[in-house]
């Protein structure tokens, strides 16, 4: 084209990024890569798994696949390196992280080109998002290491961390995993995605360059089988996974009962809400960044557009015009907006979802642009009338396709937004601060962007609610997931007392009372007979029957969960919650002697011990009453002119399977942090000592505790635990019991990825204030919601 011709069309013309240095690097290594274990590169000679360039289908390199021997070697190297690495001062660890950040920054262009070649993402995005964010993550965590002695005091690292990352942001996800693990003093075995291993290979070379001690970071390549070997390895203390919800569930099941800590950052189907009073042009650009960024291969993509009905036609008109200006093509061209889908398999998966939607009768509109002949491309598009009933409105497409439906009111927007199994993010567009903040408060999502989308920072917690997983990455919350308190660990197995749950009469007699007492379940603020119409005998240590307790079944649990779900308003006001908790303390105090007698007779402890248990229960009520309005969120220093808040929100409905060890104190020590932070609870008291429920429900009833906040259901722990663990509307489960029982609920929790805490089958000293109360209980009872609010008039 000569210049005059160009002046007639005013096209952009090609603007290719130079891939020469990266090609030379690949050639110099024979286009073959092995694992990075104990500071050396291994198994290059068996590198035969193909890594292709998704933009043209050409082979970029070959990579080795790690089997059992390599996984064992990597874990052993990490375990060997751990004591010395953990023992380094914060400054020493910080030095390494700072060097990594610096070196990465100096090689920004190289890593950006390599990432785009491997993944298919536009070079503009790898240069302006992936690599700078990865660099920022290492800087931020160099800071955590440097400040660890004061900022993370009395904390210690976990050990060897197994980390498994996806293919959509390969180097960035590597940074999100490695930086906090190292800053906290852990060592790492990381597995990049099989489709996109190359920036991790270059990163391993960078680690060698900065002289990171051998074995501190080990990088293994491979697919699901390698991942499974890591997940199941007994010497790994923690698994951190980012990827699909389906694999997240498998990992939850595989790690059940292992004692491994687990954080999961999974899929999403995030709402993108456009209110009538939004800056519509800004919202259109938000869709570009929310749905078409990275070809839509983004877990937090705002792919579910909810548009207020009155402005929907105008908004869609603007959106279509904008969509048709997107430039799709060579990822290495600097003016490409949408690059290639990562693989043929992913492309096929997306296409089959689109075909399914069309078969269901929904119309797909796509850009008319010409796609390259080779490579895996999908034209950006949208379903303008895809209501919640459409499959594509429910499942994650993970491609450049938006679905659109309309809403009428803010209430309806909330209902539609929350009408999903996921809870990763939400993007809200309204110029009315009142409406925007109400939506932000009511949508269940880990990250909420107001009048913006897809903003990230190493100092802003990121992670999901519901089936989008648990754990946060970034900020204090992120590094906390790689630390545990500095204190000794209990290793005494939990002993479950034998209880006969037979509903048959007990001819050996019962306690001598003036008037027969009837303990019922306490559901929705009412005393309710058990569905099965049965009771079992609760006995003292000598076998003497003390009374009868309801023998509840799954329907009683169901009813209790319903009551908890119906409860509205408890989470709303921390001051009111604290008042109720003080009142509970007051009412327990008035029954101090009676409760002590009950504890004494049920457990057989001495009078002193029983009195101490009651007294400590009162103290714990005070403690959590005091904490109710003090477990605050934070304001995070992120970008200029952005208010970045994190709120600590209750999980929702939480099941509690209480300990037999201290029937009153144990039960209340689990209930109190939960209700102090705004959760509603379905609690199963100790089966052996279920009569504790009787005075307690009277206490609750007389303490202004709203119905449904605490529900008490008695019966056989592991029967009721199963129903709670499987219940899809239960958001969390706290379990005390045997190791077998704990493993069982952990595995069952995978069905909706509820957050589980167990005693790990270990005995627990409920009288020890250090372990049995405190901030970690409050943290466990809450989940973080990060809200981004850019400002500027």
């Amino acid at each position: 084209m000569n210049i005059k011709d160009i002046m007639a069309t005013m096209d952009y013309g090609p603007a290719p990024e130079d891939a020469g240095p990266v090609a030379a690097w690949l050639e110099a290594r024979g286009r073959a890569f092995g694992h990075f274990i104990d500071g050396s590169f291994r198994n290059v000679e068996v590198a035969d798994s193909i890594v292709e360039n998704p933009a043209n289908g050409k082979v970029l390199a070959r990579i080795a696949i790690a089997g059992e021997a390599e996984v064992n070697a990597a874990v052993a190297a990490a375990a060997k390196a751990f004591p010395a690495w953990a023992a380094l001062s914060g400054f020493e660890r910080s030095r390494y992280l700072y060097a990594i950040a610096r070196q990465l920054q100096k090689r920004e262009r190289f890593f950006a080109v390599l990432e785009s070649l491997d993944n298919g993402k536009p070079i503009r995005e790898s240069r302006t998002a992936d690599i700078p964010l990865a660099v920022r993550h290492f800087y931020h965590h160099a800071g955590w290491a440097a400040a660890a002695e004061t900022e993370l005091a009395e904390q210690q690292p976990l050990g060897v961390c197994g980390q498994i990352i996806p293919w959509n942001f390969p180097l960035l996800m590597l940074a999100w995993k490695i930086a906090p693990a190292l800053a906290a003093g852990n060592t790492v075995v990381l597995k990049p995605a099989e489709l996109t291993p190359l920036t991790a290979c270059a990163f391993a070379e960078l680690l060698a360059e900065v002289g990171l001690p051998k074995g501190v970071v080990n990088i293994l390549h491979g697919g699901a089988e390698t991942g499974s070997l890591i997940v199941r390895h007994p010497d790994i203390a923690k698994i951190a996974f980012t990827g699909s919800t389906a694999v997240g569930r498998e990992i939850r099941r595989a790690t059940a009962g292992s004692g491994k800590r687990l954080t999961l950052e999974l899929g999403g189907k995030s709402p993108f809400i456009v209110c009538a009073d939004a800056d519509l042009d800004a919202a259109v650009e938000g869709v570009v960044e929310g749905v078409w960024f990275n070809q839509g291969e983004v877990c937090c993509a705002g792919s579910r557009l909810l548009v207020q009905e009155g402005v929907a036609p105008r908004f869609l008109e603007k959106l279509r015009a904008r969509m048709n200006r997107l430039r799709i093509g060579d990822p290495l061209d600097k003016t490409t907006d949408v690059g290639a889908i990562v693989s043929a398999g992913q492309k096929k998966r997306i296409e089959s979802l689109l075909e399914g939607a069309m078969a269901e009768g929904y119309d797909l509109e796509q850009t008319a642009c010409r796609l390259p002949d080779k490579g895996h491309y999908i034209a950006p598009g949208l379903f303008a009338e895809a209501d919640p009933a459409a499959t594509v409105s429910q499942v994650e497409i993970f491609g450049p396709i938006a679905v659109v439906t309309t809403f009428r009111t803010i209430d309806e927007a909330v209902a539609l937004a929350n009408n999903t199994a996921y809870g990763l993010s939400a993007s809200i567009w309204s110029e009315n601060i009142s409406a925007a903040t109400e939506l932000a408060a009511r949508i269940k999502a880990g990250v909420v962007w107001l009048n913006t989308t897809n903003l990230f920072d190493a100092n802003a917690p990121f992670g999901g609610m519901k089936e989008s997983g648990y754990g946060r990455e970034g900020a204090r919350e992120g590094i906390a997931a790689y630390l545990k308190p500095k204190r000794g660990e209990v290793t005494k197995p939990y002993e479950a007392p034998a209880v006969d749950f037979s509903p048959a009469p007990t001819p050996d007699g019962s306690a001598d009372v003036l008037v027969d007492r009837t303990l019922k379940n306490y559901i929705g603020g009412k005393q309710v007979r058990p569905d099965g119409g049965g009771s079992y005998a609760v006995r003292d240590r000598e076998g003497q029957v003390l009374g009868l307790a309801p023998l509840s079944n799954r329907k009683d649990v169901r009813n209790a969960v319903e009551a908890a779900l119906k409860q509205k308003g408890w989470a709303g006001n921390a001051h009111n919650r604290s008042q109720v908790l003080y009142f509970i303390a007051e009412n327990i105090a008035t029954r101090e002697a009676e409760l002590a007698t009950l504890v004494q007779s049920m457990t057989g402890v001495g009078r002193r011990a029983a009195e101490r248990e009651v007294r400590q229960t009162i103290e714990r009520c005070f403690y959590y009453a005091g904490c109710a309005d003090k477990h605050d969120g934070a304001i995070h220093a992120t970008k200029a002119r952005h208010l970045t808040l994190s709120l600590k929100e209750p999980l929702g409905v939480v099941g509690v399977l209480a300990s037999d060890e201290a029937p009153l104190l144990g039960l209340m020590s689990m209930i109190l942090p939960l209700i102090s932070t705004g959760n509603c609870v379905v609690a199963v008291p100790s089966g052996a000592h279920a009569l504790v429920a009787h005075p307690l429900l009277q206490v609750f009833d007389t303490s202004d505790l709203p119905g449904g906040v605490v529900n008490l259901v008695t019966g056989e722990r592991d029967v009721l635990a199963k129903t709670l663990a499987e219940h899809a509307a239960v958001d969390g489960l706290w379990y005390c019991g045997t190791g077998e029982g704990a493993a069982h609920v952990e595995a069952l929790s995978a069905s909706n990825l509820k957050q589980v805490w167990t005693n790990g089958g270990q005995a627990f000293d409920w009288s020890d204030d250090v372990v049995a109360r405190g901030r970690d209980w409050l943290d466990r009872a809450t989940q973080v919601k990060t809200i981004w609010l850019p400002y500027g008039a």
């Binding site: 000569n2 302006t128 850019p790």
Partner: protein, 319 residues
């Protein structure tokens, strides 16, 4: 241009078109920054774009010490904005490349008209008490009529900032409408002085009212405000312009002024025009750049394109 012979006839004041509109500054800034980062033009495409930028320049002198000689020098640069041998090397030596117009104060119009006789380059004049616009309306209208009589065929008017600042939209509409009438056949560019309007929302609303009042171009700045043309402000004005086109079918032009100094700036603004509006808004009929020093930087870039060596300003004629 539209079927109305290249003019925007305007409409009555339609408050419903702008009173509900809210512009989010952070989002506009993010879009503007992202756009500049995501569009680049290289090699001969870059040369073509730079030549187009020259065709869109209103080469401007608006200084208290302007003289007939100064204006003549500017006009001669407008006729030959780039050294001929550079143009020949680029293969455009025969296309008669000129700037879009020359822009001067009203009393300088006759000198510019004389210097540009026979070139076809229009003379634009600022008017209406430029830059503050706070002289009485009759004098301001008289100034327009004077400039037109002297041969200006484009008039860059300034608005009374009080009206948008206080939301006196009818007054703004009436004022611009009266100025448009005074312009007669001369095209009217309405300078909004966006740096003094406080919010992007006000920029949008003032843009819409100016178009409703019949402005043929909306222009960002006088060049005398502390903040002149920026990409976010331009983005918002272009969105108003697009909305006006969608509602009325009339195409209104856009002129950023003050603040575009480098070839890179010119490329960014052309890319903004292409992305937000498309082809016709990349031509002088609907796009002008008010600038004085920009041309010198573009000429240097063009020489670099031809020779591969960095150029010296001393080798290019002063404007």
């Amino acid at each position: 241009m539209s079927e109305t012979g290249g003019r925007n006839p305007g409409t009555s004041l339609e408050r419903g078109w702008f009173e509900d509109v809210q512009v989010n500054r952070s989002a506009a800034e993010r879009r503007a920054a992202g756009l500049a980062a995501s569009r680049t033009v290289k090699k001969q495409y870059q040369a073509a774009w730079l030549l187009r930028a020259i065709q869109c320049i209103d080469l401007t002198t608006l200084a208290g010490d302007d003289t007939p000689g100064r204006v003549r020098r500017l006009c001669n640069k407008a006729r030959q904005p780039v050294r001929q041998d550079i143009l020949d090397e680029l293969g455009v030596g025969d296309m008669g490349l000129t700037t879009g117009a020359v822009c001067v104060y009203p009393t300088m119009v006759p000198h510019a008209v004389k210097a540009l006789a026979g070139t076809g380059i229009p003379v634009a004049s600022v008017a209406t008490g430029f830059p503050a616009g706070l002289t009485p309306l009759e004098q301001r209208l008289g100034e327009i009529r004077y400039a037109v009589e002297q041969g200006a065929c484009e008039i860059d008017i300034v608005i009374t900032r009080q009206y948008p600042l206080l939301g006196e939209w009818q007054a703004l509409h009436d004022e611009i409408r009266a100025m448009r009438e005074a312009c007669g056949d001369a095209k009217m560019k309405a300078i909004l002085a966006t740096g003094e309007l406080g919010t992007l929302t006000t920029v949008y609303r003032a843009s819409m009212v100016a178009m409703q009042a019949g402005a043929d171009f909306i222009k960002t700045s006088t060049g005398k405000e502390t903040e002149n043309a920026t990409l976010p402000v331009s983005l918002v004005m272009l969105r108003a312009l697009r909305d006006y086109r969608d509602r009325t079918g009339h195409q209104v032009g856009f002129k950023p002024a003050g603040g575009l100094r480098t070839a890179k700036d010119a490329m960014n603004w052309l890319a903004l025009m292409k992305e937000e509006l498309g082809g016709p808004w990349m031509e002088p009929g609907l796009f002008r750049i008010g600038a004085s020093s920009l041309l010198a930087d573009i000429e240097r870039q063009l020489e670099h394109h031809v020779t591969g060596r960095y150029a010296s300003a001393a080798h290019h004629a002063l404007s």
